[in-house]
């Protein structure tokens, strides 16, 4: 145990830098991180390669503007594409005002009471509820009780509910990232709470809010399960309108075609996946542009 006693000052160097060893530890960690990225990239590249090689030959103008058909070489995805875009826009229009208003209340108005803390925690929990559960709820409430039927609006309401927790949490985060000095600055000029929120906090939080909503919309567009429950049809040859029964969306079209035995249907399923991916890319690109434009000058 003699080694446990501290050495006398000056008896030997008090530091053992071991720089080489510390650097090795850093290099190893970097290696581990790069391996993780590499693995993920590999999976992504394989997936994309598979989809592109299978799907690309089927993509042409007729495919984009055509309607589904029993013959895969004549089939198109226009009803599903329009359904996805239409429902995506409705989801945004519904979840934006509701989600942002709820987040503003929770972040800027609600007192820090036990009830409100429970409310906040539960919103985070809602984000983890399986999407199929939202589908069942949407079927019961929107399709049946409110008699909206198997319409795009019923699907949009269901998806809006599904992404609401994400929208609320993203908005709350964006509001919280605005420093209190901004709130005080507005108050010190004689602003009311609403003027403070409306003219100072919301513009400052806008980039985060917009990004959150666009990404949530992208998630809604990629969902299939809840929409199947609400009642999307498998074979739609007309363009859906919001309140009319009968619609489909891209993920469901993919699911339908992929479950057919014929190889050619697998090909157009891959082509539909490509169309969905491009739609997602456009949305994500939009999120990046909006963020960059709105936050150009923000620096706290």
């Amino acid at each position: 145990m003699s080694t446990a006693s501290p050495p006398a000052v000056g008896a030997r160097p008090r530091f053992e830098p071991q720089i080489a060893r510390r650097k090795l530890a850093g290099t190893s960690f970097l290696g581990a991180c790069m391996a993780a990225i590499g693995l993920l990239l590999l999976a992504l590249v394989l997936l994309l390669y598979d989809v592109i090689t299978k799907g690309l030959p089927y993509i042409d103008l007729d495919f984009i503007t055509g309607t589904p058909s029993r013959r895969p070489e004549q089939a198109g995805i226009l009803p599903a594409l329009v359904g996805s875009i239409e429902i995506g826009l409705m989801v945004g229009a519904i979840s934006f005002p509701l989600g942002v208003a709820a987040a503003i209340y929770l972040e800027e108005y609600a007192a820090n009471t036990l009830f409100n803390r429970i409310l906040r925690t539960n919103i985070s929990n809602l984000a983890g509820v399986p999407s199929i559960v939202y589908g069942i709820f949407g079927l019961a409430l929107f399709a049946r009780a409110l008699q909206l039927g198997r319409s795009p609006i019923a699907a949009a309401l269901t998806l809006a509910l599904l992404i609401m927790p994400v929208v609320i949490i993203a908005t709350m985060e964006a509001l919280r990232s605005v420093p209190d000095s901004q709130r005080e600055g507005a108050y010190a000029l004689g602003a009311t709470r609403w003027q403070m929120v409306r003219r100072s906090i919301l513009p400052a939080a806008a980039p985060g809010i917009m990004t959150g909503i666009i990404l949530a919309m992208a998630r809604a567009i990629g969902e299939a399960a809840p929409i199947i429950v609400v009642g999307a049809a498998s074979f739609v040859t007309f363009l859906p309108t919001p309140f009319q029964e009968g619609f489909t969306v891209l993920p469901i079209q993919v699911y339908q075609w992929a479950s057919r035995p014929q190889d050619a249907f697998h090909g157009i399923a891959a082509a539909a996946i490509l169309v969905l991916l491009v739609l997602m890319l456009l949305l994500n690109g939009l999120a990046i542009i909006v963020r960059a434009r709105l936050s150009r000058h923000l620096q706290w």
Partner: protein
């Protein structure tokens, strides 16, 4: 005139440079009081941060609040425009008279108070808007009906910022330098035509040159406004203020006023031993 403000004993670490001439202050009896504090205590829940303060703030003067960290200077300052109302557990005891009215009386709306008693903060906090919109913010929310362009220009001129920004009013307020941002915040405060301007260590984030600009600006502004400033910088208090309030903490960690007097008096011939020790840098 010998340097009035040199401490009687050489300061440790504080050299007080030759000072610009200070306007002679009027005797107490001739002063017009804008804010009168009587037995003011500030509480955060059960913790008393400031104890039993009774001081008068004179009109069109610069009053400096000095004292060691944690003695409640900022709390006291924020009590004067009801900024602390935003903290749920906060409470003020005692009376603050503002223009003959009890600042904390029933029916007094803090929103109305804050337009008349403006505030400039420690860290410049321009809004993420253009320079013009920063200054126009206050007038707009307060229902200003006159010529906004004129008011913005006039406010920027009085904040000694106009010449630097007149060609880039549409530019972003956050793109300015720190000193310019702070003057923008002063312009923004002036634009709602307050009677009192509270400044909470307005120069602590600024370089010496910008600090001097702000101090010159204060000397200019006190012709029309009453200014109360919290500062940790002894030289700043000596240079820029007419009256000085020295606070410190008691055993119970509550801040209290040790001495209030003309700045010249405080820095040359303080009554209290504690004041002398503090301004000469021996504690705090």
């Amino acid at each position: 005139m010998p340097s009035l403000l040199a401490p009687r004993q050489p300061a440790i670490g504080v050299t007080i440079a030759p000072l610009p001439p200070i306007t002679p202050t009027l005797p107490v009896a001739e002063r017009e009081t804008v804010l009168r504090m009587h037995g003011v205590s500030c509480w955060y829940g059960s913790f008393r941060a400031v104890k039993d303060v009774s001081i008068d703030i004179g009109a069109r003067e610069v009053t400096a609040l000095i004292g060691p960290s944690g003695c409640g200077k900022t709390t006291l300052l924020r009590t004067l425009n009801r900024m602390n109302d935003l903290i749920p557990s906060y409470r003020t005891d005692g009376h603050i008279q503002f223009g003959g009215q009890d600042l904390y009386g029933p029916g007094v709306d803090p929103v109305a108070v804050r337009r008349r008693i403006g505030m400039v903060f420690q860290k410049p906090n321009p809004f993420p808007k253009s320079i013009y919109d920063n200054v126009a913010f206050g007038p707009r929310i307060n229902g200003f009906k006159g010529n906004l362009d004129e008011l913005v220009e006039q406010s920027l001129r009085r904040a000694a910022l106009w010449n630097e920004v007149k060609d880039k009013l549409k530019q972003h307020g956050m793109a300015l330098s720190g000193g310019q941002q702070q003057r923008l915040c002063i312009a923004r405060t002036i634009a709602v035509e307050p009677e009192v301007i509270l400044m909470d260590e307005p120069c602590s984030a600024l370089d010496p040159r910008s600090t001097l600009q702000i101090e010159e600006l204060m000397a200019e502004l006190k012709r029309d406004y009453t200014i109360v400033i919290v500062t940790h910088n002894m030289q700043q208090a000596a240079r820029a203020s007419d009256r000085t309030v020295f606070l410190t903490m008691g055993e119970d960690r509550a801040g209290y006023v040790v001495e209030v007097d003309d700045t010249v008096k405080i820095f040359t011939n303080p009554r209290e031993r504690l004041t002398e020790d503090y301004i000469s840098g021996r504690f705090g």
